[in-house]
């Protein structure tokens, strides 16, 4: 990731509460930045602001010096966001879902690569079933399979990626994150999971919890 | 140079100004409406064709004009709020809607009163009345949308978008309704075909228009003050006013 992501003096107000203010940080290639804090402290809101889904009350987020809200698609092509919701259509299979997700995100991936990504996340044999019949953990893994296809996307923003995953899957995803960071990408994430990912360039910012 | 207008773009500074202006315009409104009603009901001559019942136009027409004018003003403030991300503009737009809806309702109601003695029906599908009815729905839709959204920021911005889409559609709606009206020649009655008006009649209508306009300004400013206090109730200046009033 050549250009850094800069968050400048962010202030977030939800409803009537100021969740955080004066928050600034820079994310560069090789950074693994974890946002910590108690429930309700604004972690998800911060991640959404960093993606451009939410406008901060004041302050801005810049990519290469320009506000991401002005860059729009130019920035979003370089972003991979996995939020709380899995973003999977129940009536389609994991393969179909991943194929659509990649195309819409501008990631080029043929059928073989899509299938491989799902196998990588441990979904071999289940990739053609409608997502409706998969368990919570399997659905989360199907959602996270985008990471296996997202090596070329510099910035990953992950909101609670390890939810509903068993230990093996957690290690799997952590490996993907480590790999991405070591190749020069950046990851911004939140989690309640207390294990250290063990990558160089790990940092942590804690939100006070309004 | 002169007044620094931007000074008043924050709720805190606008609040006291709004209060003073509301008082002034309220008084002016009272005076203008009194004068206008006197002109309309006592001075203006009896109409040759419609007798005394035509006098309702002194309320009907100014109310209709204000209803349309206020919608445009509301859309203007909504647009400013969306473009410049200013809180006060959104509050102004929200403050205008109920008054605009009120004038629309008055226009419809008085239009109905006019229709009954003149053409024997309580409602006429005249182009103007039908457009007024749709305008009422536009106002109510705006108010309903804002009421349904809890987050004030989303409510402001969603309402603003709706108001802008509405204001673009108002001329389209008006012309299509006009067209519809001329097509179906059964309803040949028209409230727009007023007889040529004596000067006092025109004067009466104009004075009433000003009266309604001033009332509109006063009502909107007072409502805006309430909205400001409600939205900013966490801040110091709002608490100061609340305590002072108690």
């Amino acid at each position: 990731m050549q250009t850094p992501l800069e968050a400048i003096d962010l202030r977030c107000v939800r409803g009537e509460r100021t969740l955080f203010e004066g928050l600034s940080f820079t994310l560069e290639g090789g950074d693994l930045l974890r946002i910590g804090g108690p429930n309700g402290s604004g972690k998800t809101s911060l991640l959404r602001i960093a993606c451009g889904l939410l406008e901060p009350e004041s302050g801005e987020v810049r990519w290469g010096g320009e506000s991401i809200l002005r860059l729009k698609e130019e920035f979003w092509v370089r972003l991979l966001y996995i939020g709380h919701a899995n973003a999977l259509k129940d009536d389609m299979s994991a393969v179909e879902n991943l194929g659509v997700a990649s195309t819409l995100a501008g990631i080029v991936a043929d059928g073989r690569q899509v299938a491989e990504a799902l196998v990588r996340l441990g979904l071999a044999g289940r990739e053609n079933l409608p997502v409706r019949v998969l368990s919570q953990g399997q659905r989360r893994r199907a959602a996270l399979a985008r990471l296996a296809l997202g090596a070329a996307v510099p910035l990953w923003v992950l909101d609670e990626p390890f939810t509903a995953l068993d230990a093996k899957a957690v290690e799997n995803v952590q490996e993907l994150m480590r790999g991405h960071v070591s190749r020069g990408g950046a990851v911004l994430y939140t989690t309640h999971h207390e294990a250290d990912i063990g990558a160089a360039g790990s940092r942590r910012i804690d939100l006070a919890g309004g | 140079m002169g007044i620094n207008w931007f000074k008043y773009s924050s709720p805190q500074t606008f609040f006291p100004l709004a209060g003073r202006l509301a008082f002034v315009f309220g008084a002016l409104a009272l005076a203008a409406c009194a004068a206008g009603l006197y002109l309309g009901f006592f001075v203006a001559p009896t109409d040759a064709q419609q007798g005394e019942s035509y006098r309702i136009i002194f309320i009907h027409v100014p109310a209709a004009w204000m209803s349309m004018f206020l919608y445009v003003v509301m859309a203007f403030w909504a647009g400013v709020g969306l473009a410049f991300n200013t809180r006060l503009s959104g509050m102004m737009a929200s403050a205008i809607a109920p008054t605009g809806a009120l004038f629309t309702f008055i226009a419809l109601w008085t239009g109905s009163f006019w229709g009954k003695p003149t053409w024997g029906t309580w409602w006429v599908w005249d182009a103007r009345l039908t457009s007024e009815l749709i305008l009422l729905f536009l106002y109510l839709g705006f108010m309903a949308l804002q009421a349904a959204i809890d987050d004030p920021r989303r409510a402001d911005r969603a309402g603003a978008l709706l108001a802008l889409v509405g204001v673009v559609n108002v001329p389209i709606i008006y012309f299509s309704v006009q067209w519809w009206n001329t097509l179906h020649q059964g309803a040949s009655v028209s409230l727009t075909k007023s007889p040529t008006m004596a000067t006092t009649m025109v004067a009466g209508m104009l004075v009433m228009t000003f009266g309604f306009w001033f009332y509109g300004i006063a009502a909107v400013l007072l409502r805006a003050r309430c909205i400001m206090l409600e939205r900013e109730r966490g801040s110091e200046w709002a608490m100061h006013y609340a305590r002072a009033a108690a």
Partner: protein, 222 residues
Amino acid sequence: MIAALRCLILRDLRLAARRSSDVLTVLLFFVIVVSLFPLGVGPDPKLLRTVAPGVLWVAALLASMLALGRVFAADHADGTLEQMMLGATPLGVIVAAKVLAHWLITGLPLVLISPVLALQFDFSQDLLGVLILSLALGTPILSLIGAIGAALTLGLRGAGALLSLLVLPLYVPVLIIGAGAADAAASGLGGTAQLLLLGAMLIVAGVFAPWAAAAALRISVE
């Protein structure tokens, strides 16, 4: 970008095919509403012939409004809408694709079945062409304008009724001109003017509505 659009439209069509009950419900609603009118106003053929265009148009309008709930709601609920907002294609284009798919699923069936229903009203066969064309041009406009309302009311309580209140005033010009086309044809004036006007409205709506709806989506998803 074309690949993304094709992918999105095919996706929506595929999803509709797998949940065909949604689609059929809207169509059935249209048929039932149209059938209710003669029960309400009496079977006099002359009366029915006169009101046929208006009835079909109002029913199409109501069915269209009923269907609007599914344009964005499902995608919003499972998080796919968010992903589209963070994708490589501008949101306005995405919205246009979704509205097109939505019309293919809910609007086009209405247009296709309308001649059958018009015959129920003994509507003159040579005028059927104008009626069908007016619906074919008008229902996409309804979907486009409706998408703005659907985007504004995304996720709100009572969104269905609120959506109707927001969108019906905006539908009025389309209704007047659309129904007016068949009426004019029936009275011998020819419906060409109205059809051309509908075509123009379709183009304008097609250009502006997706962007307004995209702006509304961003406001609603915050």
